[in-house]
Symmetry: D2
Subunit: 435 residues, 4 copies
């Protein structure tokens, strides 16, 4: 996570201010619950809220205490005691640091997921708008980078829409994975804290009680969360790669918006490069990599060790901030993508009609040729087009073995673009619910 690739709303989730505020809320809600249960005096809980609700926690002071105690939660509690006064001794009763830290982390991850879901909604809206705009814009479909058969540019965006719709569902599931709260005390036995405190705080913080914790919330939940982010990042890489290909000089079917004043190269003034999409490719690599330490974090020793902590201090912000930035950047790229339908048509025409090879193949088999013979017949004419730039239809019409099965007029009728697009509406209905 570096400023260049960060947006403020996501970044602020990981600010010390936010963290201490969440810590306070967990402690204060716990105090309220304990007061209700008669474990601590009602006035103490009230005092904690009164003093802390609008307190500005002094981060430098907390840091100073931590330098001595080498324990961040104790440092915070000590500072809180300075604010609350003697009633502070009723704070954190029967709780352990992990109760605060883990519940806080999950609040942060849930908030981050909420922002990511909004990001995805924006991206989906952009994809949908551009998909309908180009629903019938013909372009060549490519397999292996080689012209295959025609698709529409709208279909390309519809693929992406469907993929990011799955991404959204996955983030929703990942959010649910980490939306738990643990206030179970040392080694998770509730020996010194009533389980009802956990239920109360969970509800207040918008979480579910963790059914069984071992002082820490189990890290398989977080592994699943970060693995999900990694998969979403991989989908970003896919769409970014598509755009990078489309902007190639020889293809130039679409282009990232190039703003006035922008410079493509310090040396070559003619350059207009898909730098945003390339950047997204790199960011995707990072988000993907963070999944590995998240998974290595699962195997904590016995009831807990703290090896996960340094990892999470890094990947908590790094993964969410980077993915948020990438999703927003990708949305901008799609929103402002400059599309060149005439270049698409030009490229489509490039292979002299070869993209109809399959249709001819099928017609030959329908006309009685074996699959193998039909394949050989079509391939030998196709290769003349491929290698010598001949017109595919003309070659077919000149091939007696072909015309023995299919009349020239039948062949001509097969070179019709509409044939390829007859199911576009069907597909759009599947993806968008309407065509």
């Amino acid at each position: 996570m570096i400023p260049r690739y960060s947006r403020p709303e996501m970044t602020s989730i990981w600010d010390p201010e936010t963290r201490f505020r969440i810590w306070f809320e967990i402690e204060a809600h716990a105090a309220s619950a304990m007061a209700e249960l008669g474990v601590i005096p009602h006035h103490a809980a009230k005092k904690i809220w009164d003093k802390g609700r609008n307190a500005k926690f002094d981060i430098a002071r907390i840091d100073a205490i931590e330098r001595e105690t080498k324990h961040d939660v104790i440092a915070f509690l000590t500072h809180l005691a300075e604010i609350v006064g003697p009633e502070a001794r009723f704070v954190h009763q029967g709780m352990t640091s992990s109760d605060v830290l883990d519940t806080c982390l999950n609040v942060q991850l849930v908030r981050a997921a909420d922002l990511l879901i909004i990001d995805l909604d924006h991206l989906l809206a952009a994809l949908k708008r551009r998909a309908f705009e180009h629903k019938t814009t013909p372009t060549i479909g490519r397999s292996h980078g080689i012209h295959a058969e025609p698709v529409t540019f709208g279909l390309k965006l519809a693929y992406a829409y469907a993929e990011f719709d799955r991404a959204k569902q996955r983030i929703v599931a990942a959010r649910r994975e980490v939306a738990t709260c643990a206030l179970s005390g040392a080694v998770g036995t509730f020996a010194n804290i009533d389980p009802r405190v956990e239920v109360y705080v969970a509800e207040k913080m918008g979480l579910e009680p963790e059914p069984i914790s071992t002082q820490v919330i189990p890290r398989d939940r977080h592994a699943m969360y970060f693995a999900t982010l990694a998969v979403v990042a991989s989908s970003i890489e896919r769409l970014a790669t598509e755009i990078r290909h489309l902007q190639r000089t020889e293809v130039l079917e679409a282009e990232e918006f190039f703003s006035a004043g922008q410079k493509g190269s310090s040396a070559m003034p003619h350059k207009r490069n898909p730098v945003l999409s390339e950047n997204l490719t790199g960011l995707a690599r990072m988000v993907r990599a963070y999944s590995i330490p998240a998974m290595e974090n699962v195997a904590l020793w016995h009831e807990r060790d703290i090896s996960h902590s340094s990892v999470e201090r890094m990947i908590g912000p790094d993964a969410t901030v980077t993915l948020d930035f990438a999703l927003a950047r990708l949305t901008g790229v799609i929103d402002k993508l400059v599309v060149y339908p005439e270049n698409m048509q030009k490229n489509l025409d490039k292979l002299g009609g070869l993209h109809n090879s399959q249709r001819v193949l099928l017609a030959l088999t329908q006309a009685g040729a074996s699959r193998e013979d039909a394949y050989a017949l079509v391939q030998r004419n196709a290769m003349k087009t491929w290698e010598q730039g001949k017109d595919f239809l003309a070659e077919l019409k000149a091939d007696k073995d072909v015309t023995a099965k299919l009349k020239p007029a039948e062949l001509e009728a097969m070179f019709d673009l509409g044939y390829h697009f007859k199911q576009v509406d069907t597909i759009f209905k599947r993806v968008f619910g309407k065509a």
Copy 2:
């Protein structure tokens, strides 16, 4: 995937025989659908089924054809034509290899997931049985490898149960991710194949139609699948690590079953090592690693490239077979785990009652001490126990600052194990639905 770490049922999913059988079923069901739609003659579909239903595909022959065509599906279709006869030209009409390959892969991954779910059911049953067996067996809970407060051994197994129950839900979700079928033809436009063929085949193969495919089924689905397996493997590593710790010479609270005739070391006849759990740790590393190439597979070029294929030929079997083996091995370890309650008690007693330090701390704050003072009071007595092996209760009773707040009898009452276990039933109810 190597024989040493493989079980036959999972391995057989990836056999060439199984693959060709699934390919045949996809082609034959597609023929049936096309016959119903009037695209090919009914007798042709019937002939395909009649000839192919019980055919034994000749793998050596298919391999020989592939060596020439360098295309596996064409090789299969050519061989199938040898079996079916002239009607074979109605096979694969309007389809592309990916329709067969991707739908087959998803059938295999779904079947693999089904086996993994059964594996998890067995593991969950073993964990539950042993958890109830040791529901009240006291043992020390450890954070950072250091004695913390008491738990029960049943709780340790209940943690694992809850984690593998989540694992099961995740595999169910991963199965759903890949349970799709695509028969959309070249570049996925259905130009040469009716979408109703896809719907028909999907239903016959137990899958859902892929809403939009690009010749290939999008690989974000598979990335999610393998990422999920990786998370489950990480949970295996956690439980395996726990057992390795418990079997350490100095701890020896539990031990892998050591069969008659087994030898622990070629050099040291006294050894009995947790080799199964160590082995599981290594296997988990492998399954985890496979998630990375699965995620790198997502960004295929344009409508498809085939870079994913070599990866999937490897990790398809490698990840599922290894995870299946690991889950079964772990189930065996849990089922036969030798548990030593007396050693647990001995270890629990080792720290001279220090595990009650928090309870004393809380009582001191309840008796009016500030959190900071109480902490210091307890810590100074605890350190005498820690460093000089003194009895913690005796030290406390001898400390006037302590006894100014708490009477000796009160202190003694705090050294009661039952205090720590009063919520075990609550937790078991949360985890197992009953206590």
Copy 3:
């Protein structure tokens, strides 16, 4: 490692026969050394060699013994005793299984490295031959997929040559990392075995004595080895990606050799796809992934645990066999690559001379324009070429602000291809030692 992506010589390194043969050699050489030191009788060492030198070890028998003992080295030693007779009690004196296993693994990894070095020599030879063949074949250099300035196709291959020359040096270093032998006995103290036995066996097996082992050879060595393979695989991916780009329909500057009889697509007979290069991309992903568990293997517990073993049983063959196959496949691709110089020229001409934009920019600054002004001047003419297909030179000559600084003849002289290639010889000398 699957047969499809395996070559026999590398695979045979990992055969059980090879492994048992290496085990025997280690044991027999150790016996010779011990006989020399007087630890065991000379006739015993002789008998071991006499009986074992040409013995065919019965793998099924060894497996059967292992099923009982659950220990592979003990199983082998028991079988060896059946072959050698009573003197077998002098085998493995003071040694531990790891002495045999780890030294054997390193022998295998060294042999694998030797094959990889040969593979790289072949690849380097192919790259060099083709580089000189196309030393002066002009082609456009591309940054961001966008035309930049001209290079030669020979330079592209020279880049690859330099990279794989580094790869070779890295494999040489990786080989050195694992070329060690340990015969230090239990926990590595040489308590029961003379260090001179290790020195003797190391020399016989072509290894160096491990300076300090802990029963196992430290796994940082193997981590480095597999990490190196992963980096080499990444270089394969780079060159494969280049070829995939060059074969794109719109680019078609080079093409994988397409053999007679080969079929590109089951549906579209016109297809000729860069499937080998795509395959290499996938294989590279796999070799890269194996580095992660290799690194996780480093942190064994205390003097050793066996979690590394299952990982190495898999990645030992998987990584080396796959990389060997990939290097050989890449060599074939380069050797037989079909190059289209006329297409290169056609593409080079595509941007109407824009690739000379920098030269004009520099001339303008030399003629007194500030860098910023010169940049703006060139960019405004370049954009007309980029967006409207105008001829760049013509536009420049028609721009009065340009011609105020540079005369038309001067401008024309700047559109000379040779200008870009004047240092090709210099570069070739740096890379190949000659031009």
Copy 4:
């Protein structure tokens, strides 16, 4: 990279100030070289140095320009022109941004490597000092967490010393991998810049000229660099794991230094946890993960794309700063490690002499027993010790099958600790060059 896990010297390498200073030096040295070659006026080169040598670059101003141009090097050059004046048009002649960026990155990585080498020297010194201090301190060696045979604590530290000595050599090699400089201009052809400029600047910046660059310095170099850091991090994890084990309550053979005022737990005042070592474990996971995107960066498209850039902006600082911090932290842990020889002895005695089982086994074979019979004899007595806590020597002396081969006095003589340590000097000489 977060402040909590950062040290200032390494962090400062990645400061904007440092970066711009290095950029300036590259540009200014290039100007000097060009002046010598007569490409630009001598006074211009002088002016660039005069104005820039002590200039303080205005980061906010550069950022503002970049917001318009979207190009960081152009922004810097524009700002530099504001400082230098009209002669600035002679800056960056024939160069491209990558010349500046890549050479700068390599300067930073070289400086980072230099700091890491110093870190390793400190760590090695600490390990050596403590190794000699405890050269003869007996402790039990453990395989699989199970007591094996005795070692000395000095040997444990010597293992680590040898491993980090290899780590140092690897960093030296990694430094060499990235110590290259490229000033080859657009697409690396030197069309607009004399190769002698590169040679000159390389020498001034302490680098070697990159033999062949493609505008960018090839990223296999950086992949190797970060992979090496990842391997070193894995070695940190190994030593950290050892300490975590040694500090376990049941083992307590060594302990991280616990400072006055430090608090181990907010809930349990008795806790002293190996939190630094656990932290190191987590940090190692991070540094390891960064190797994956570094390797994915290798396959840039054609002569270059910019997907590597976002990755390197993150992992450049993240990997080096984190590893620097971790090495320093580990050095502190080793330096101040509290060692408990008496606990080591106590643990060593725990298994009733079982660690001599191999010696008895060997003596039995020397006395004529077959290996299998001897193993069975020893194992049956060992298991009584293992399972019932019997004294191993007493059991052996009471076993008639044993005493038929070995007299009681012979057996007694085998229970001598010195036997295990007779080669400690040999090993120390191998590792440290002296004993």
